[in-house]
Symmetry: C2
Subunit: 359 residues, 2 copies
């Protein structure tokens, strides 16, 4: 992971649940073989599977020392709080890990490498502070260059943050490979980068260069792939993150979109002092908004729905997928629960079409 | 300017024309009393008015030494190239200014203060490197808090970059003051910041926090003003900058929009290796796109058109404004050439309405 194989301790103190510990859950789902333990003293003695539904028998332990006893040799900050600061209580764990000479991997907006105390300790003990959100030095302004690639570019877009856009993109790319299609996953957030060992955390890039960064990643990925599956970010209807969403849409120039939604969510999550919880529009309206916004630069069509049915019974989850599919007359599935095959098939059907599907 | 009055030399080497030297022209139009000279060796011996149509008799000179002879005691980098790097040829001028102990003001994406040689020279000679694009340390995620302010929030939006959004906002705010309305101008780009002595260069802020930054500025400006006029950035149809545009729209939550367009421009300007020059949609389509995008978070209506008629004869300019007004059934003017009164009146008519005008 990020340069070499490790046995990671994932720090998720007091937050190790599927909704709170997005990075922890993503890494456990796709890189469990590189995880030695999860640190959450409030859940110590359980397993990852019991707490988060992923990660099998990976133990949950109380602190860095206990994780070391499980064979860990690196620390990963496993949550991404709004605003991105390092919770004060977690600093002790980072210091402990650095004392042991471990590398510390972080997706926070605040860069651990810029903290003089942490940097000095890392240097003294031989560990490294790997800030995966640190923006690339290269800066370019997008100019719809990704609209020219021969590969089919697909992007996952959503009704809100944290609804499953990264997971849907990973599952679709995997399923395309199973169908014999050369697919590349392009990571745009810290968890995706940790899983893919490449990508760019676009939300930390100076705003003028976000579209340019994803454009470069798509151009590179398209060289060897028939399909490039780009992890979307944010949501067009989110008051804080919509700019990132649109920059990705116009930088990547996807031809096909997969609409992601959490089945039980009715409102967009904003800060607790926000004037109101904005309602999530109907899926059909969301699809029109995304297709409309894409068309300002390059036409795209929604080709399927990825529904995150976490918290629903199996029967209710199946009904929810069927209802979403009916609403948009498109394939709909929960790619984690029921597999991504319908979405991969829908994407494969677009292959070879050189014009935009509905344009 | 930025803390104290200065007599500035504006560096615009080989680029001192109305379209190339956006920052130089903006500062000359609104702060000419603080400009001692413009440096452009290719136009030395002329005046600002002759080169750029603003700035009256401010002399254009060949180098920093000549500007010093005109009484300059500070250097302002007067252009903002795509990508934001300091042109190599300009470095000598910056070094010369620092040798003299001057402050150097820069709106470039690359921070002069981070350059060890420049920083050392500034420190040795007692000058300062003022990077107006350096992002604020405070980081917040927007949550439509600006939708609650009592003041009427107006934003200028456009068909492309560099069509007159800052100028329109400044002229509307000025004209509102003349009409007896307490108006505040909120700067969002480096030139606006130099003119207003406050604001944030939103395009240099990490993408997650752009909407939050403008939200904070609007909340602050709304305390003392009846109308807050926000300088828009970029364009929803620009492949490189649309994300910044949408972040501003959703962070500021304007209720009224003024659509800005350059009368002679038919295509969006992108890099020379771009696959195509995207055509600018008809004004009516642009208005619908902006109102639609705003409505995802907070409804807004276009209330007027600011047409930049640079390069047109007076009669053609008047016809262009009339045609734009007819197309949208709204007041239209070139605020620089014909005054901003019709736009200020249109904004004033919205005062006191608590719901969105067309929502």
């Amino acid at each position: 992971m990020l340069g070499r194989r490790r046995r990671l301790a994932i720090l998720a103190e007091a937050h190790f649940s599927p909704l709170d510990a997005k990075t922890a859950v993503g890494v456990l789902r796709y890189r469990a073989d590189q995880v030695a333990a999860v640190i959450d003293s409030t859940r110590a003695g359980t397993t990852a599977e019991e707490c988060a539904g992923v990660g099998g028998s990976v133990p949950v332990v109380a602190d860095v020392a206990a994780a070391a006893a499980c064979g860990a040799d690196g620390l990963l900050i496993g949550i991404a709080p709004q605003g991105g600061e390092l919770p004060a209580a977690w600093r002790a764990a980072v210091l402990d890990a650095l004392e042991r000479g471990w590398d510390v991997l972080s997706g926070l907006h605040v860069f651990l490498g810029d903290d003089p105390e942490l940097a000095a300790l890392a240097a003294a003990r031989g560990g490294r502070l790997l800030d995966v959100r640190r923006p690339p030095v290269l800066r370019s302004v997008a100019a719809a260059r990704a609209s020219r690639v021969e590969a089919l570019v697909v992007m996952t877009v959503g009704s809100d943050c944290n609804v499953g856009k990264m997971t849907a993109a990973l599952e679709i790319a995997r399923e395309l490979e199973r169908l014999g299609v050369r697919a590349a996953f392009v990571a745009t957030g810290q968890t995706g980068i940790l899983i893919a060992d490449s990508g760019a955390a676009v939300d930390a890039i100076p705003a003028d260069f976000v579209a340019g960064a994803i454009e470069s990643l798509v151009l590179e990925a398209a060289r060897d792939a028939q399909v490039v599956v780009v992890e979307g970010q944010g949501a067009l209807h989110h008051p804080g993150y919509s700019g990132v969403t649109l920059a990705l849409l116009h930088g990547a120039c996807p031809r096909a979109l997969v609409l992601c939604h959490a089945a039980r969510r009715g409102h967009i999550r904003t800060a607790s002092d926000a004037p109101r919880e904005p309602p999530i529009p109907p899926l059909a309206d969301l699809a029109l908004a995304y297709e409309g916004a894409a068309s300002w630069v390059h036409p795209a069509a929604v080709v399927g729905v990825a529904l995150n049915t976490l918290g629903l019974e199996a029967a209710a989850a199946r009904s929810a997928c069927e209802a979403a599919g009916r609403e948009l007359s498109l394939p709909a599935t929960d790619p984690v629960r029921f597999g991504a095959r319908p979405l991969a098939e829908a994407v494969r059907q677009q292959l070879g079409r050189t014009d935009a599907p509905h344009a």
